[in-house]
Symmetry: C4
Subunit: 197 residues, 4 copies
């Protein structure tokens, strides 16, 4: 049915737009230094590193979104809102990125950053559930997701990072980097499912 394809196209176009803007306004936190020396870049370094991490995270979400919706055949009202919910939490990432970067990985902002990663992860889980609810448990997508170990471990790890922030922010940051690396590898499950006829 063409109507449904249009609905899905627009959901994707809107999501792409919002994600493109989120990924780009984060760079605005990199404030142009007023002096023209190399030393003037020193305070920008932690902000830059946080930007890299957040860019990778938003990139991962976009990639996974991209792969998932490839297999989605029907879009309904619940999915529209579950998707908006995901975009809402992702839109807070620039704030958390700026706070952690500007304060050189201090405990409270580092914990807040972990929560800013936890919330879209939960929202993603919600979106995934809304999709499976519509597609059915025997759909290609549901079977492709399978037990979804990565999706279930990530929130636990983010929570671990939040708690570790008050012990040693380096452990917390290491966890955030680790989860990013874990997701960095493209989701073979989906690619396999697409290739299967």
């Amino acid at each position: 049915m063409t109507g449904n394809a249009v609905e899905k196209d627009r959901l994707l176009a809107f999501s792409d737009g919002v994600i493109a803007i989120i990924i780009t306004i984060m760079v605005l936190e990199l404030k142009v230094p007023h002096e023209a020396t190399l030393e003037a870049l020193t305070p920008v370094i932690p902000v830059f590193l946080t930007y890299v991490l957040s860019f990778v995270y938003v990139g991962i979400y976009w990639n996974t979104h991209h792969h998932f919706f490839h297999l989605v055949r029907h879009v309904d009202g619940l999915m529209l809102w579950a998707n908006l919910n995901l975009l809402f939490w992702l839109s807070l990432l620039p704030f958390a990125t700026g706070w952690m970067g500007e304060n050189h990985f201090a405990p409270v902002p580092t914990a807040a950053y972990g929560i800013a990663l936890l919330m879209p992860a939960l929202a993603w889980y919600g979106l995934q559930s809304a999709i499976i609810r519509k597609e059915g448990k025997d759909s290609t997508l549901a079977r492709a997701i399978g037990r979804d170990l990565k999706g279930k471990i990530s929130p636990v790890l983010y929570l671990g990072g939040v708690l570790c922030s008050f012990l040693d922010t380096r452990i917390a940051t290491a966890i955030y980097v680790l989860v990013a690396l874990m997701w960095f590898i493209p989701d073979r499950r989906i690619e396999r499912a697409i290739r299967r006829p």
Copy 2:
């Protein structure tokens, strides 16, 4: 006719772009605090709550826009301008959001926020009229809209909120939240009309 489909596609793409940017620049009002304590987040809370409310409103407009244009078959010059008029008023929402949030729901900004909700509601009514004028009163869309009770009550409620702002801003805010909840439920009329052959 393919030409008309292209026209509609572009109107939707442009609207999606503008709405995506509006929904995202609102988050820029959440200013990154300079201190790294939990207390530093306290002044951000009202700005955050206003952001949530405005995000939901813009999300509602996008969803309704999405549903409506699903049934639109012809795009003309009047509709292009009626649509731009809607986008114009929506573009003022970040300003009103920032003003109400930063001033912790003071009377004048709360009334201004109500007007910032009223204007796109009226613009929406104009867009709807432009569409029905083109599609005809017996079109699927016109019948799907029906008596449009929600669309007619909302402006009255916003006006009520504006007036209540000078009595007690909590009542005004409650009204704004209520109307959002009322629209939050996806428009069954349209979904039904799409399903019907």
Copy 3:
């Protein structure tokens, strides 16, 4: 040929994106006042009025762009750059808008605003020439454009506005509003050409 359709689609998508952002970042010049009184809005009024005017201008460019490319069949390298040239000059409109608005229509910013309107008008003329060069002088589009009186008069009027800025900025502003009104009416020539088989 499908390849060419893709090329055109992407040119339109990119233009829509840039125009959507230009039209939206102009609203960032409306700085949220720190006080919560009606008087605090007074300095915002000229910025708001300039925003309205610039919004209408960008809307006109988008609408005309929309109508024109409807009839474009081939996209070449020259058109890509002529289009980027138009987008470049349009991207300076927010700067000119902010300068004129913040300085309450002072002579120099009002003249600068006129130049900011003149440059995209010339760039538009360039884009139009690049299109006709490719489509041919006997193409539907070339015939639809015809003598292009509006397109030829506008730059002269903008120049008039620039000069008048140093006599009385009210005359200059009146001219800018007038040209906007002149273009506001959708281009019947194109609509007629589309309808013709």
Copy 4:
């Protein structure tokens, strides 16, 4: 296969969105002067000139991206990340543009600008390799790219610009302008390859 076309469409839509935002937020570095005199524009001039140069560079990347993906038939996970890598480095251009412009082409920011041009050039090379790896060395695209002299010389020239920044920033800037001019001319190789059946 339709699925692959959707994947490519979304990669292009997302890239167009990010590039459109990058090209537009650079204009935010043009700070509106508080005074209404012509002299108040003087400090804006170097920022403006840098903006023009960066706009042309981003325009070149968009144009080349546009031409390249025209011939890409398959999109895989590696290409998605190679593309995100390119967008990441392009997203730092506004920062480098602002720094060089505000400091009137001082040595360190001018060298930093050269690095900000070098990195996307390397990322582009990576993306090109990821595409050829998938398309095959005998594909239309691989043959169209050929020996890719321009692509190989550019990074060397950027590096030369970086080094020259510490001798005379005018030489460095001249090199950056030169490379831009070299790419400005649309890539005939690709256009020829498209036309060939």
